[in-house]
Symmetry: C2
Subunit: 330 residues, 2 copies
Amino acid sequence: RYFHFCKLPGRVMGIRLLRFTSVVIIVLLLVAGALTALLPNIKDDKLPNLRREPKPQSQSALDSFTLIMQTYNRTDLLLKLLNHYQAIPHLHKVIVVWNNIGEKTPEEMWNSLGPHPVPVVFKVQSVNRMRNRLQNFPELETKAVLMMDDDTLVSAHDLAFAFSVWQQFPEHIVGFVPRKHISTPSGVYSYGSFELQNPGFGNGDQYSMVLIGAAFFHSGYLEDFQRQPEAVYALIDETQNCDDIAMNFLVAKHTGKPSGVFVKPVDIRNLEKDTNSGYSGMWHRAEHLLQRSYCVNKLVNIYDGMPLKYSNIMISQFGFPNYANHKNKM
Amino acid sequence: RYFHFCKLPGRVMGIRLLRFTSVVIIVLLLVAGALTALLPNIKDDKLPNLRREPKPQSQSALDSFTLIMQTYNRTDLLLKLLNHYQAIPHLHKVIVVWNNIGEKTPEEMWNSLGPHPVPVVFKVQSVNRMRNRLQNFPELETKAVLMMDDDTLVSAHDLAFAFSVWQQFPEHIVGFVPRKHISTPSGVYSYGSFELQNPGFGNGDQYSMVLIGAAFFHSGYLEDFQRQPEAVYALIDETQNCDDIAMNFLVAKHTGKPSGVFVKPVDIRNLEKDTNSGYSGMWHRAEHLLQRSYCVNKLVNIYDGMPLKYSNIMISQFGFPNYANHKNKM
């Protein structure tokens, strides 16, 4: 908020009033300064390589996150989820990416049901594209983005913990849905989950991607996404799929490490069966998984190599929900 | 293995034989060079601050660890555990710290039962001190130390995974036994585990120490330990306890972060009831836990502040032992 100065000539107002105004201003500045000193320490931004244009750094911009939720044909689920997500701790703002082309947003109804804990912005799109959610939105003020699908409910506890984990791994995609690729003797890659063969690095399974439909990542990656080869956008538009695989390629290439850190969710639910719209989501299409394998191979061509790396680190919250969930036989 | 050269004068052997020998040597060198090119990449050492004197950097020194096991009055357990631990993947060498003063080590018997997978060194001590295991042993060639109590059995799977985790967090104590301190309104600290009140940073519990009796840490910390205030050694000697708490203080002070990373063990067992010696370990002494709270407060005095920091990160292995241990309701 900016203070308006009434620029009245000093001679008219009088020196006395000028002096009084100056004193008030000085006192207010001192109070503001004292309040600032009481704020908790700002955490360092550990990502000098992400070239985000410098914005005024408010305290909340570093210790909070922006929820970006794209929505298509499931406004009932969207509103149900917004009621939940608007109250998550450390949430700064919600950006709803409105893919219902030509349809009015529920902004009027939203405002009539205020006040709300945080601002919610409805971004009307001109074309229904999967990659609309990966724009570098000017409304985005925080370093962290939480991206959620419009049919996914994750508990506040999970989100608060995962956000704290992201703050310790800010260059990674920190989220709840792990996936992997495997290579085959022919050199062709396949995409999948636990049902696929383990990649064969010792015991157990590995993951090489964390899906962005339920994850935290650095907002700088949205900026980086705008600078990818055209073929990437063409691929995502052709399939209306794979934007998340592309983001994992981008992050892995940037860091030279596994793109994601998997946080095991305590309570994550898919609400798509609860929708009145009858629309059940892209992943039900028959060709969905085949498309994703196709995308992995195309992206390897586009990026001239396979940048994804494997990880087998699974993070849970110590002592939650069971206060002794780390107990062992010792 | 080194090749012995027979240094016979050329005139006696003949120029032809010399030439043949040279060709053989060159071919062998080329083969060795080709094999080296097939070896996996050496991981970078990420700890420039730990001032360890440069030793010849062999491949194994970076990708393997040294087991340091101190033993007192439980030789039967020691030998049972050595049979297990000598075969752990990535183990470079074992250093047994022999605290049985005046008693012969089992070295003869050990050698008679060879060959063994790795070298085992018995370090005879002159005084039975808890902190004997924290010496900067000249036999130590690896960056990583695995320290185990002589009554603790951890599965090879757990150790292989925890070692890979340590390689990603080399400045932390990566281990299987988390503990915490809590502060009280009086300013006096208390030491304990899950039975103590949560420190109160959001949901769930926190830990601020990882005990070194079942953990990996960087060998540079042994060097740092030699440079601590005399009062630290006096405290450990006075209590015959708390060397692990002191190490956590040291690491936390060095990194400014939580000292430990907790890896949840799948299979960890305490074998002390299996010993024939009747000796049941220091932690059964009535004053054991009180001593440890005492140590926390003394160390805060010695270090002029509380350097320990809390963490609630609990790491497990993705897809092991249950190949779909990350599955959720989605």
